[in-house]
Amino acid sequence: MGQVIRLFQDYLSQYFKTKLTYRVNFITELVSNLVYELLNLVFILVVFTHVPTIQGWTLYEIVFIYGYFLVPYALFSMFFGFWDFNERYIIRGEMDRILTRPVNHLAQISLESIAPDRLFGVITGVIIMFFAGSKLNLDLSWYDPIIFLLLVFSSTLIYGGIYTAIASVSFYTDSRTGIAPMVWNIQNYGRYPVDIYNNAISILLKWILPFAFVGFYPSAYFLKKEELYGYTMLTPVMGIIFFTLGIIFWNQGVKKYSGAGS
């Protein structure tokens, strides 16, 4: 573990050296991340100039859920940014190199694709939550920050588990499957209360690809929706289950891995 943390520092400094070579691009990348985060906020704000509530949910409640949604997503994309795993590691045979390294293979890959600039997403999300929270007059108990950290950590594990499982599909087939971008688009459903979707979709979002637990259910705790507390408490359980599943799939995949041949 100590070794991973030391490597983490090295990769971090390496990352900034590469990025700061092209400064204008580094800044426009930060701006474009921010634009992406504000895009959906604009959608919410514009819609609410026409309607008072969306099926009983008020403007600032929806904004709060969105703010929370940004935080675990930012943490996840900082550590699990290997969207191009198939191309980068399997097709180009880089996985062979990873397996000869002394560090845990998943940790090694995670470090190689680390994106610390995504931390800005955490800041944006927290600012949005505080803004919406103050409009809603939510009061904080002393233990709420601890619960927040626990929930965010659990939501990040859900993301990590799902995308690790998807990445490990590449160990069985080296052709592009296109599953990751589909799931990425489904996860955006988690930004809104699941009760606005039909039954099939809300079952999907609760139990199969549990993106209801990366935004809506954890936020319900802070919004004092007591009828949903059961789901909020389930968040850490879902996090552990899905992350464990992800790791199991991954390790199975690594065992099956036979190299791309060249």
Binding site: Y22, V24, N25, F26, I27, T28, E29, L30, V31, S32, V35, Y36, L39, V42, F43, V46, V47, T49, H50, V51, I54, Q55, R176, G178, P181, M182, N185, I186, N188, Y189, Y192, I196, Y197, N198, I201
Partner: protein, 264 residues
Amino acid sequence: MGKLYAELIRIRFLTLLAYRVNYYSGIIIYAINIGAYYFLWGAIYSGQGNLAGMSLSQMTSYVAISWMSRAFYFNNIDAEIGQEVREGKVAIEMIRPYNYLSVKTAQALGEGIFRLFFFAIPGLLLIRLFIPFQFPDTLEVWGWYGLSLVFAFIVNTQINLLTGLFTFFFLRNEGMMMAKRMIVDLLSGVIIPISFFPGWTASLLQVLPFQAINFTPSMIFSGALAGKAAFTAIGMQVMWVVILLVPIVLLWKLAKRNLIVQGG
């Protein structure tokens, strides 16, 4: 000269045809997005008759057609220009006896034709199975929509050329391209019809070129824009096609002077 560009269009079409399987997952992704907004708008409209002059059924058509229009006009020629500048390939392109930007436009058109037949049309028919929306009932509306979509494609390509040209100055430009893609989606009306924007933001969007990319054709298709108003809107699109030529020509002149060939 015309034959050369026709050939470029054909080659791009055939190249994409070889990789058409990659586009099947694209259709599903668009369906996922249309689904998300379909449910969201359903929830937003519950208990409301008309919002910003649009009924729920018009909104449903709007959501479906705006994404499927995007399936047609979307392309990555800005990223292609960026890559050719970064790898130094642009030097070879520039000594060839054709105009680099026209070549890129021709390739974009080849991609557009491919996307129309293998992405937008099958996507539209697939979506129709799940989401009940109305096709225009007269041939006239289809005609206006088609014409408007052609200009939408041109304006979008022009904006892509502009972003691509900035790579000549910054060498790496992925950030700006990403930001552009999202801004175009928001301000052209894919995410929300621009008639929904309140107060001064609406008047601002009226004088920007983005509405020509998606809002105009989608409003015509959904029947929210008809008759003389549709005609005026298409006139605006033509105006933008002409206006946008000016910065492209100027930036291209500057870019040629500024070019640094990398790699090799």
